[in-house]
Symmetry: D2
Subunit: 291 residues, 4 copies
Amino acid sequence: MDIGLIGLGKMGGNMRERMRRAGVTVVGYDRNPDLADVASLGALVEALPSPKVVWVMVPAGDPTHETIAQLRDLLGQGDVVVDGGNSRWTDDLRHAGELAEKGIGFVDCGVSGGVWGLTEGYALMVGGAPDDIAKVQPAFDALRPSASTGFVRAGSVGAGHFSKMVHNGIEYAMMQAYAEGYELLEKVDLVDDVTEVFGSWREGTVVRSWLLDLLVKALEEDPGLASIRGYAEDSGEGRWTVEAAIDNAVPTPAIAASLFARFSSRQDDSPAMKAIAAMRNQFGGHAVKSE
Amino acid sequence: MDIGLIGLGKMGGNMRERMRRAGVTVVGYDRNPDLADVASLGALVEALPSPKVVWVMVPAGDPTHETIAQLRDLLGQGDVVVDGGNSRWTDDLRHAGELAEKGIGFVDCGVSGGVWGLTEGYALMVGGAPDDIAKVQPAFDALRPSASTGFVRAGSVGAGHFSKMVHNGIEYAMMQAYAEGYELLEKVDLVDDVTEVFGSWREGTVVRSWLLDLLVKALEEDPGLASIRGYAEDSGEGRWTVEAAIDNAVPTPAIAASLFARFSSRQDDSPAMKAIAAMRNQFGGHAVKSE
Amino acid sequence: MDIGLIGLGKMGGNMRERMRRAGVTVVGYDRNPDLADVASLGALVEALPSPKVVWVMVPAGDPTHETIAQLRDLLGQGDVVVDGGNSRWTDDLRHAGELAEKGIGFVDCGVSGGVWGLTEGYALMVGGAPDDIAKVQPAFDALRPSASTGFVRAGSVGAGHFSKMVHNGIEYAMMQAYAEGYELLEKVDLVDDVTEVFGSWREGTVVRSWLLDLLVKALEEDPGLASIRGYAEDSGEGRWTVEAAIDNAVPTPAIAASLFARFSSRQDDSPAMKAIAAMRNQFGGHAVKSE
Amino acid sequence: MDIGLIGLGKMGGNMRERMRRAGVTVVGYDRNPDLADVASLGALVEALPSPKVVWVMVPAGDPTHETIAQLRDLLGQGDVVVDGGNSRWTDDLRHAGELAEKGIGFVDCGVSGGVWGLTEGYALMVGGAPDDIAKVQPAFDALRPSASTGFVRAGSVGAGHFSKMVHNGIEYAMMQAYAEGYELLEKVDLVDDVTEVFGSWREGTVVRSWLLDLLVKALEEDPGLASIRGYAEDSGEGRWTVEAAIDNAVPTPAIAASLFARFSSRQDDSPAMKAIAAMRNQFGGHAVKSE
């Protein structure tokens, strides 16, 4: 098949390569002309046979909104836009509606895989109408790890990004699980070599996982993680997961705790804990630490 | 009545004063001779009529263990020891057993009141046999805020400190509640003067409390709590509360969260968040901050 | 002053009464004609002198949207609408904008007080332009507990409801604090009478508060709370507080835990815990309980 | 090598079989004579050449205490006892001390593997003196998945069980992570087939793991987990992990949340939430649900 791919950064570039290796004809566009196959979105659309399939792989929010708005003008009846970025699932409903006015189909696709996807394949969670998805299927098959793994049609439009969002929420809490255990083992004198303990868990245990493999790799590269600060960004999906949980009255204490731990990691000082210290000083005369 | 009081620090000194104002004859001992009325525990015991009542008000753990061991040698049948310190309730069972071998009664008394107790009175949570408690009742009545408030016989030996421990666990989560709200109000530009908002809550709201009054006082003295670091110690009862909750399979997520927030406040860097950052770097190529 | 009041339910009815006792002329409207002073919104607006002040006290969401839309048609330049309901602060920005197109001012007012407000007064957190607020001030003064308490201009439009939202978030975690302590004391055999322990805390302790007074009252009316199910609704502000915290990267673990505990209390069975039981069964052969 | 194995239940029986397949001579004892190779502990010890190695695989607590006390009488200088059960690491220090008085070595070994261990091998976390461990090494090598995986000397006595305890704490939070995501996906209408979504995550995603494989297997066997109640026991290590975290001032919010979720899952009604409902009723007149 032929596909247009917009956004050729770290992620998009690797995806172009993996699709090409599988025989998909990819026309890539990027604002950076050094990365692009064509000079404009117009040229990209021109280069595709009908029905045209265009995969958007740009940052969520305004860049995605704007790209889809442009594609709305360039594409027509029967074409399909895939949003493979990290868009919030609520944005999908809006994008699908805007494109539907012109008869353009929309498919949302949550993509997991990171820097390993090129060689190991990407896991794809897809939402949309079966007819629209069918037009993209050869590209999905090129990207997934194998013909029987790493692809699901999760439901109608939005279900792909929603599933990917929940995937990431789970990921937050799994990482927090290992991180809490790591800190406890590091803290006690009893345990000699925490890296070896984690390493021993890679086979035969209940906690074995790909994330564990990565953590062991990191520990072996940098014992005690001496060179890394305990500072963690969050990329949105964790927040959205907790917000979706709240909207649906689903208790998610572990995922929320993981999110809050990241927030705390980025604070130089905690206003909340200032308030705690101030109250303790007031009622008990407990000393406070000065700034 | 006559009572011996061991430990005349900030707390014990004020309690001696409040009891004396109420007509109780207090013989005080402290390692610091400047504070003491007598030169030794032996002299303190000598000075008391039988049945002798001795109130121990020293730090929990070894100081209390040792003081009670000495009193075991000095006192006899029908005398009573009161532990008014912050002992863990499990220690009470041991102390009571050791004293009972010589016919000495034991009463545990959790004391709330802090620096305000001298004028406002102390709230007392008491555990022990009714006969033993009766021998101490005039002292309890002198210390409590009024004849109808601030005293409870919570149950048998240990129940006083157990109740005080739970009181402090509740206190942790209440303080955390205000602290979280404080930080959120401080963070948004929308709200002009957080001190005034908190101040307005002191009457007519669901959240009004003595702790709120204290926090408002602190905010008025130091707007934005600019001079205080977000660093909070914990004095044991919060930990014991969560441990007792775990022993009894009682979910205490808010109290546990409050305790963990204090732990975090005392860390320069978080080993757990180093692990999070390391994993993110491994799978996504996300940048880490260096030490 | 004269004020129009829309919504005369449990809350609005008491507020009309309290304002009238303070000399404010209140024209009340309610869909229930038995409660209303006038037959329509039009009649209410007619009855007011200019500048007209209308206080909306109807459920948040559509009822408030619709009422404000109607008032937009009925009022004019220099008039003021007060939203005293439980609207989300983000709605305030929208309402203010809609009214501003016709020169109508808007003030948002978070109201705390519940069933006790009639006699004790209401705490008011107000957002809006000082000029608009000035037109409503006599009504605010009638409602607040006293001339020096229970009122704050928290900031511009939205700041009133935002502050009230945070107030309620704090309330959630304070209630959870007492609730966790209550459950732990109830669970252990050591403590004889939990109601008495809580009662003793009402004076002289760090945890004394109005909420504690209410809990003691409830426990005295129904020892062991035998007649009440452990089922708790939530009215929105707790959810919004956690969502605002997430938006602002503020850790609120205790408030979130309180919210999740309410969600759990309303579940007959937990899908999450089904998944836990299923995994335990798979790896350990642990028995599951059947439906 | 020769080894005595005490406790031939589900776990011990499989371990005997795996050791025998690897050429270790195992003399097994169990209270159930149908499972045992010898009739008594005395006969078991008789059957072993010196230095004798005896592996204890009985329930933690009294059964393990009693078995080790008997072995202390039966064994002598240079022999080694291995505790492979789920003992708390603090018990190890006591057991090692008791055995050391007679010159008997002690090794603690946390074993992960469950019902899959016979074929896949067991992961072993070991604490003790290198000399003592060396005497057991052929047995460890028989049990571990392969010569390069699934074994670690974590440190001195206690370090094995401590590491296994932390492993299980991590396991709790990982299971909770999947469980929360599962509930959220189940709750929304948007997602058509949650089992398929989880199944698609088994390759190429960040959350792939052995636990995920098990959960997918359970979902495929029983879609919607319709036959399982949301009721989860806990076996001790989760509690000990949080207690160790508290002792070491390590924040473990996700593991604690996982533990509390299990506690809640076993409650017919929540006393804490009764208290919440009672307070809401008192201040807001909110209806309560009756028992």
